[in-house]
């Protein structure tokens, strides 16, 4: 049809592209998951968001602080910015969750749900509800000027006062299908690569608990941080 209609369409496409540049999901190239890996800790950044320190059996993840969730509640601890919910977490990650899954596996972690397995089997039924299994993960965080490595419980606030206990849930297939971008969830989650075994599935959704980053400890919005993941075996 006529140029005006093409113009409207072109404007719409441009808008889509502009929006895509800001917040849309990005495709993950599964054949090249290691492209997200830095070769040294110094190389960690937005382009290379994960460093596997095989010597110390540690995975380091580059992220930035999301100021909104230092003051508003969320269910997401760390999300990949290319995911559907990339802006809904305390920390914005720049590497995709599938690369994160592989990295944790590389340092010897055993997920609750491995690739090709049914995510339903990755949970344990308790009186409180379904709780995520998998190897327990120690998570710590630091940033320029922090002066030390903080345990994740020192920088996050759980309204119930429970300590966060991260587990390697795995959920590779769900993460790939749902593309939510979840690295680290505040309650047990069938999509997050790691999630919190202290709270069963849907704790946040049911209003049982609220979570946010601690504004008194964490640096201001946009500050780069590095999170370290090791298995407490």
């Amino acid at each position: 049809m006529k140029s005006t209609k093409y113009f409207v369409f072109a404007a719409f496409v441009l808008l889509l592209l502009a929006a895509a540049g800001c917040s849309s999901t990005t495709e993950i190239d599964e054949d090249n998951l290691d492209e997200a890996y830095a070769t040294s800790e110094e190389e960690l950044g937005e382009d290379k968001g994960i460093y596997i320190d095989e010597e110390n059996n540690t995975v380091k993840v580059y992220a930035t602080v999301n100021g909104k969730y230092l003051v508003e509640p969320t269910r997401h601890g760390l999300n990949w910015i290319g995911g559907k919910y990339g802006d809904q977490a305390v920390f914005k990650g720049y590497a995709n969750p599938l690369s994160f899954y592989e990295a944790l596996e590389t340092i010897g972690g055993e997920p609750a749900t491995a690739k090709g397995e049914n995510s339903e089997d990755g949970f344990k039924e308790t009186d409180e509800g379904k709780v995520i299994q998998g190897d327990p993960v120690d998570v710590s965080i630091t940033w320029e000027g922090a002066g030390k490595d903080y345990d994740i419980n020192e920088v996050m606030v759980d309204s119930t006062g429970k300590e966060i206990a991260y587990r390697y849930g795995g959920n590779y297939d769900n993460a790939k299908e749902m593309m939510t971008g979840c690295f680290m969830c505040f309650d047990s989650c069938p999509v997050g690569i790691t999630s919190n075994a202290s709270h069963p599935v849907d704790t946040f959704e049911d209003g049982e608990a609220e979570f946010h980053g601690d504004a008194d400890v964490l640096p201001e919005d946009g500050t780069p941080v590095v999170l370290s993941y090791t298995f407490a075996k």
């Binding site: 006529k2 140029s3 209609k5 889509l16 508003e72 559907k84 919910y85 201001e220 919005d221």
Partner: protein, 387 residues
Amino acid sequence: MNRMISFGVHFLAALFFFYVIGLSLSLLLIQNKWLDMRFDSEFLVLIMLAAGAWCYFAVLFMNAKSFLYWRRPVFLKGVLPISAAIILIITITNKTFFVMPAYVTRKGLMIESVLSLTGMNMVLAAVVVIGVLALLGAQKRPLSFAKGAPMEWQAFSKFSRYGMTAFFIVTALLLFIYLGQGEIQASANRAAAVLMEADVEAFRDYLLSFGPLAALVSGLLMVFQSVIAPLPAFVITFANGLLFGWVWGAVLSWSSAMVGASICYFIAKFFGRPVVEKLISKRALLWWDGFFEKYGKHSIFITRLVPIVSFDLVSYAAGVTAISFRHFFWATGLGQLPATLLYSYLGETASGSVKILFFVFTVVIAIAVLGSLLGPKLMGMKKAKAK
């Protein structure tokens, strides 16, 4: 000079007025945790600023005085103070005064990588001062309207005016949903990418990913492509045939194309001839006038039979002629039936040859139509040469 200052003052007043409302609504939506985990309400700021610009330009170029909200007492003394109060109450009680307004504005305007929260707060302080001054200035100096504007707002019928306003509101809402909801945005991007590649198999896979909602999604896409985007509709018809079988595929494609055509028809009725001229070109509309004059009420049926005549052009053009909706509906329904059945059948028997068959079919039809149009002229030229 004085006039230019008036234009500037009113522009800033309009933007500020709508920005305050957008920010307050956005903060209210964020208070709902369920929604906040699924939706980026911050983009309401952008949408409201666009609404402010739309109202301003409607006033300036179309003398649409009713859109001068930033001068109307009920909005100025009611809506604006209430919005400001909502912002203050939420941010002060949540202790987020120095975080959320700056965060929401920055994200809503997609400038997160440009400004820190501190930088944004400084900009906001300036915005508030300039905005309040602009609002006060706008009360004192009326916006001098252009005389004899090319598209006088009052010259449109009431029907058209409501139509244009509703169209803007619906477009703004759709854009807000697209920008704010990650899953919808991802789906829309995927659909656009697949459709633009005209890849039937990829489109079928895309539809399949919606499970039981595949038919609904396919129908909505057909309507969408009819109304706004010049995307290849035959891909959708093929894919429907491939996915649902040729009978149900044809039913789905036919009915969704009918909905799309009806929407185009009523958009044209709402907007009237000047807007349709801009939408499908004056030339195309003149061509349609000539065609309509020659073939009368059979025009719709004939053009629907010939696949090289744009489906959307006819739907829009029919809306500005005397053709009743009833006649338009039945002529479109019957006229598009053969092509729909053929594409659906080709879709069901899809293989690599589907596209080839389609193009052969289109080329044959096109040659036949061009032949019938140019034939007499060529014959006339031959005869003249022979003489």
